[in-house]
């Protein structure tokens, strides 16, 4: 990664106050709490966690689509260097050209009353990236071809398309303004397996072709394992582990990562014995437990875990974890 980090997140907090309280502070949902991570340029960076872990909020706050309470998000490419929290209006407009989002549900993301051509062309028109209709059409056609949509598709409305085709339309729309950074939020979760593979392969080939950096958000570790080169694991608004994919899957340090990995149902009917079962469920972010957020479900929890919050530590090259006892648990 000689060309540095495209996104640098430092001590990011996203807190949502709940209503107003007559006395004292209103309760606060800590959706993201003190998260730091670097996304290297050209990487396919995976973000995994269960529902309520804050992975979507993190993706959105990097795009400045969720409010940043404190901390820094920096975006740096060849031309610009932005402090995302403090973008002014014209900078934000420019940032939107550089950073885009692909949504989860291809049925909800596309307007039913616009043709596919108009859907893909809209970002170009809104951002004023093209000067004539002819130029717009050219860009749309070029992008549609890259996403394996044919010309005849462009005249139709979204209802005529299957889930996989709709997701290709969403991808074309996100990429038509030639962004550098893409947040793909559960972009294959709504698709059938046989289609999912096709979209994953498409994203990978577009990444190479267009020199993109991805933040790929998913709850599915096996999908992450196949497409991402780096993985960060979140739990209750915190980063618990971050490592190059191979390393994380070969040698998970955090007890939560270990449990997540072993909870994936294996295709081998005889391979059920040694899985680590987590008790209970993810606590409410309104009342997160003190100390290590995971101690209520951790089978190794000790007294120290209940009071002292572990910091994210680099234990190996690029492999970070936030567990007091990571060394002992991994047997190192």
């Amino acid at each position: 990664m000689s060309n540095g980090n495209l996104i640098t997140v430092q001590d990011l907090c996203v807190h949502y106050p709940l209503g107003r309280s007559l006395f004292g502070e209103p309760p606060v949902v800590r959706a993201i709490d003190k998260v730091s991570l670097d996304i290297p340029r050209g990487s396919f960076f995976g973000l995994v966690g269960e529902s309520g872990s804050g992975k979507t909020t993190l993706g959105r706050s990097i795009l400045k689509a969720a409010p940043i309470t404190s901390g820094h998000v920096a975006y740096r490419d060849e031309d610009v260097d932005y402090d995302v929290a403090a973008l002014n209006k014209s900078q934000l407009k420019d940032y939107r050209k550089r950073a885009q989002l692909i949504f989860q549900d291809p049925y909800a993301a596309l307007s039913p009353r616009m043709t596919v051509r108009d859907i893909i062309a809209e970002p170009l028109e809104v951002m004023g990236l093209t000067s004539s209709r002819k130029e717009t059409d050219e860009r749309v056609r070029e992008m549609a071809a890259k996403c394996r949509l044919n010309l005849e598709h462009l005249r139709r409305f979204p209802h005529a398309f299957s889930g996989g085709q709709r997701q290709r339309i969403s991808i074309a729309r996100a990429l038509v303004c030639r962004p550098k950074f893409i947040v793909a939020d559960e972009s294959v979760a709504a698709l059938d397996v046989s289609i999912q593979a096709d979209i994953l392969n498409l994203l990978k080939s577009l990444q190479e072709e267009m020199d993109l950096t991805f933040l790929f958000i998913s709850h599915d570790l096996s999908v992450i394992a196949h497409v991402c080169d780096h993985v960060a694991v979140m739990y209750l608004g915190r980063l618990v582990e971050s490592a190059p994919t191979r390393q994380l899957f070969a040698n998970p340090w955090h007890p939560y990562t270990q449990a997540l990995l072993s909870a994936i149902p294996s295709l081998d009917p005889d391979d059920a014995g040694d899985s680590i079962k987590l008790e209970g469920e993810i606590p409410s972010p309104l009342a997160p437990p003190p100390g290590c957020k995971f101690h209520t479900r951790c089978r190794f929890a000790q007294d120290r875990c209940k009071t002292e919050e572990p910091a994210l530590r680099e234990l190996d090259d690029e492999h970070f974890t936030s567990c007091h006892f990571a060394e002992e648990l991994s047997g190192a």
């Binding site: 269960e50 529902s51 299957s162 889930g163 996989g164 085709q165 059938d192 397996v193 046989s194 289609i195 999912q196 593979a197 096709d198 994953l200 392969n201 709850h219 599915d220 570790l221 096996s222 999908v223 394992a225 196949h226 994919t245 191979r246 899957f249 449990a259 997540l260 990995l261 072993s262 909870a263 994936i264 149902p265 294996s266 295709l267 081998d268 009917p269 059920a272 899985s275 079962k277 987590l278 469920e281 993810i282």
Partner: protein, 337 residues
């Protein structure tokens, strides 16, 4: 061999719609033995939910069942011809009596304005003549059995006060409290996180050995099937394409579609394996291909045959059955050698 608990023969379900008759399930046959878990796998639109709902006659009024098809339920005490049931009173045996169902989205399955306890008690009282007090006791016992702590307090709560995993547990407790012979589980873990999914799968496995009931487990996740089912049936566009013991179907898949599904699945044991998508999209049920329904996406299509004729069953090993011309041709070839 013991008498099957439920026997589905040549089940065909069509729906009346504005655009004409839509065939959702086409000539599906399978048996479930008492105490057996049959996994029904398929992608969206494959007809797996319609098949399951047919067992309880839960498909809408616009559903048409072909005369030739039959569903026979053998509870041990009586034999019921499910499709001939007409009166709601007669249907009680398949709706919560001998057959129970749990759904994908537990929030949508509980009434939001009635406590969990009242809902559990109500259905117990409908299906048996026990007192309200006894029904409450049974409900508390069941909630405790599925691992909900402080069940007597939970009984007085509403569905929104439960978390997703707990709702699904309560759903299972409710479905099992009438001691059904067959539980239909329609994507019971799809809406849950993996760690909760693992808990629910464990719970269902325990309950099967404890209560000795059979389960029809519907899912699109082959991993979940591998971990729960004894036998598996793979559906595509309303047709059964392959059935057999779970080890055989997943270990030695025969049908090109089953193969395609497995190749498209990201596997943790081999991160370098490329993901191979099944080419094309599932055709619309309004526009079902002629011949073998999979011929438009199949890599082993035999020109002149697959798009014209409907494949029949090819027996592989034991009760491993596959509906495919290419597989049948391969079998014949082996026999000739």
């Amino acid at each position: 061999m013991t008498e099957p608990l439920i026997s589905v023969r040549d089940l065909t379900v069509r729906f009346k719609s504005d655009e004409g008759l839509v065939t959702a399930v086409d000539g599906v046959s399978f048996d479930i033995a008492p105490g057996e878990i049959l996994g029904l796998v398929g992608e969206s639109g494959s007809g797996k939910s319609v098949t399951a709902k047919a067992l309880m006659q839960l498909n809408g009024d616009n559903a048409i069942y072909d005369e030739s098809g039959s569903i026979t339920l053998n509870t041990g005490e009586e034999t019921v011809d499910v499709l001939s049931l007409k009166r709601p009173k007669d249907m009680m045996v398949i709706r919560g009596g001998a057959v129970s169902m749990i759904f994908q989205e537990p929030m949508a399955s509980f009434a939001p304005a009635i406590t969990i306890g009242d809902q559990m008690v109500e259905q117990l009282q409908i299906h048996s003549s026990i007192s309200k007090k006894r029904a409450e006791e049974i409900s508390v016992e069941m909630l405790d059995r599925v691992g909900i702590s402080d069940p007597s307090k939970r009984l007085k709560q509403y569905a929104f006060e439960f978390s997703g995993g707990m709702r699904q547990r309560a759903m299972i407790a409710m479905a099992l409290s009438t001691k059904p012979k067959l539980l239909i589980a329609d994507e019971p873990t799809t809406a849950l996180d993996v760690t909760i999914q693992a808990q629910v799968i464990d719970l269902m496995r325990d309950l099967v050995s404890e209560f000795g009931m059979a389960i029809l487990f519907i899912t699109h996740d082959l991993g979940v099937i591998a971990q729960t089912a004894d036998r598996v049936a793979v559906m595509y566009l309303g047709n059964l394409v392959e059935t057999g013991a779970v080890r055989q179907v997943i270990g030695e898949p025969a049908h090109p579609y089953t193969n395609g599904l497995l190749n498209a699945l990201p596997r943790l044991d081999d991160l370098d394996a490329p993901l191979v998508a099944v080419p094309g999209d599932i055709p619309s049920p309004l526009d079902r291909p002629t011949g073998c329904v999979f011929n438009t996406r199949c890599s082993q299509v035999i020109a002149g045959t697959c798009e014209r004729e409907i494949p029949t069953a090819t027996q592989l090993r034991d009760d491993h059955v596959c509906y495919c011309f290419a597989v049948a041709a391969g079998q014949d070839g082996q026999k000739a050698l």
